[in-house]
Symmetry: C2
Subunit: 368 residues, 2 copies
């Protein structure tokens, strides 16, 4: 859709935007300005010339892409840390006994849920999304919108409704769906959401993550990581913690400004992008790859052939690691996930139909 | 000492390196390489070409400056988050009842201690460093090495000894001492330490913080933020959390690589620096400023005139905010802390005796 805005190396077909998004061309120059002018020349003054509010301002930019109105998304910390904040806030004061996690969760979500369980005395129960059994014991449900391994997508409307019917809040992890699917957080009355910005949002390696706390939840959102950036009056240097009334209470410490402003710059490629168009483009790319791979090889595709789905195709392949090494040697960059999965991500902003065909042909040459 | 390595704007006397360190000249070019080559060209491959191990490698570089042998310092997250990790790990399983914090602590340390107290049922007691009364009820002691407001320095050997005599571990916050004082973490058998890298270490705005966990504490260090980067085998994507045996267990989520590699570049200016020489240079600069200010004004200096002390001079001044605005307008950049403190930091690597004299003269012109 906007490949001309990206720096894709000559000879490379990049199908790993679901792991690390490609570099928008203008980011390097912007970062020169940030480093040389904002840090080098303006020095400490830059904190009052845009740095301090950057997490909320950039949060709003991401909010537009995930169906969140302004003032409900803030950028900072890692996804893991934001899962911790959301879960701890969600179970604060609960009289219920369990945290429900989808059993195919990205590992870090499950690890953090385990820690939250230990800290709060709650049990963690891993369940299949098709039979979550959310009930009156469920304190919170933590779900991955798109399965990182298979690309299967959960029905956010249906599962959020199930949780609410049982009186449980839900935390959605959007790491593999933000930037590919029209998400409707506000409309579906999602309780909390988190996600990273370095995959399909192409914000840069390890770019800061985000957390969504809707307006009506903010007054009761207790951040367990009560750092000074979330204080109502951070520079008053008060002795006791008094959280900001709004989304800033989800902030913790001083944010990594260079990574954050690289993300800010990178988000320019999303200006005026219609997520419905991105979504249709992604569906088309994954469908084309499926057709080519099925035609050219006998490999098993484990990504479900249904709509909705994530923007990736995962393929079972006994010798996945070596096959991926060979693909990369031939210029097709995807990744593999143990034990036997080849993953290919199709970022609609910069992957073309030509890339898709050529990648399938090279894959076929290797495995046949 | 090494001013030629820094980009200090023409006409600026920069006395705020205790808040945001100045820009080393070579960082901008290095970040071009990181962005254009490592992110843009190498893409996902960079994770196995140095990115994944960067937090430990850079941690070791900081370790050299704070008296920690290799394999005990890791970089990532903010200071606030690292205080949380250290305190939670320190009180895990304790049968004692209180967390002791120095009463003039930087606010975020106290806020995080409060949250840890609420999560664990421990009481937080704020005490004067001169009468901490560490006793058999004390589960952990959290101390700021240098007071951010006054520049007073605590005696790390004496207070660590006091804590250990009472059977309590101690967490030292080095935010205002790392990069100015020869710290001896290993030698003093400090239990845990945290600090930021964007002040005297000049790692860039909001650069990642660090945490020190000595070898003999690592096996029992339980990170409450059990993210996948701290896992023994992160890419095995196992369902349960099994921490790395070493310092990597203090990692959490995917680190902000751009901010982290800017810090890495910035640390080059510390290569071969002898912290004893830095320390003496800093003492000389602060002594000179004290002398000039005392000679030229009647302002009250609240930084203690004793050794050791931090590399800053704090001055009581009724109209601190306006005076600082005027100083900045005339090219002397310090900062103010409410209600009535002017702060001036003296980074030995780039502040000169000429800067010190001129800053005192301009201050005198404004207040007299």
């Amino acid at each position: 859709m906007r490949r001309e805005l990206f720096d894709i190396p000559e000879g490379v077909i990049y199908l790993d935007g679901n792991s690390l998004g490609a570099l928008p061309k203008h980011v390097a120059a912007r970062m020169q300005e940030v480093i040389s002018h904002q840090w080098g020349t303006r020095l400490i003054r830059s904190w009052s010339e845009g740095w301090w509010e950057a997490p909320q301002r950039i949060g709003d930019r991401i909010g537009r892409l995930i169906g969140a109105a302004e003032g409900q998304v803030v950028v900072g910390d890692s996804t893991s840390v934001n899962v911790f904040k959301a879960l701890m806030a969600a179970v604060k004061g609960t009289t219920r006994s369990e945290i429900v996690v989808d059993e195919s969760t990205f590992p870090t979500d499950g690890y953090i849920a385990q820690s939250v369980g230990e800290l709060t005395g709650l049990k963690v129960r891993a369940a299949q999304p098709s039979s979550l059994d959310i009930n009156e014991d469920t304190a919170v449900v933590l779900l991955n919108h798109v399965d990182y391994r298979t690309g299967a997508m959960l029905d956010m409307a249906e599962l959020t409704g199930q949780a609410h019917a049982a009186g449980a809040p839900v935390v959605w992890d959007l790491c593999h769906s933000a930037g590919v699917i029209p998400i409707r957080l506000d409309e579906l009355q999602v309780d909390y959401a988190v996600g990273c910005s370095y995959k399909f949002l192409n914000g840069g390696p390890g770019a800061p993550a985000f957390i969504y706390v809707p307006k009506h939840k903010q007054a009761t959102f207790e951040n367990p990581l009560s750092g000074w950036n979330g204080h109502r009056a951070p520079f008053a240097m008060e002795a006791s913690y008094d959280p900001d009334p709004g989304i800033a209470r989800a902030r913790v410490g001083t944010p990594d400004i260079l990574s954050m402003l690289a993300l800010d710059a990178a988000l320019d490629v999303w200006d005026d992008v219609d997520m419905q168009v991105v979504w249709k483009c992604g569906l088309s790319l994954t469908a084309q790859f499926r057709t080519h791979v099925t035609r050219l090889t006998s490999l098993e595709i484990i990504t479900p052939d249904e709509i909705p789905r994530g923007n990736q195709i995962s393929i079972r392949c006994a010798d996945a690691k070596n096959v991926m090494d060979e693909l990369i040697a031939r210029g097709v960059i995807g990744d593999h996930r143990p034990p036997d999965v080849l993953r290919f991500g199709f970022a609609p902003l910069y992957v073309t139909s030509g890339d898709v065909l050529r990648a399938a042909e090279i894959l076929a040459e290797i495995v046949n």
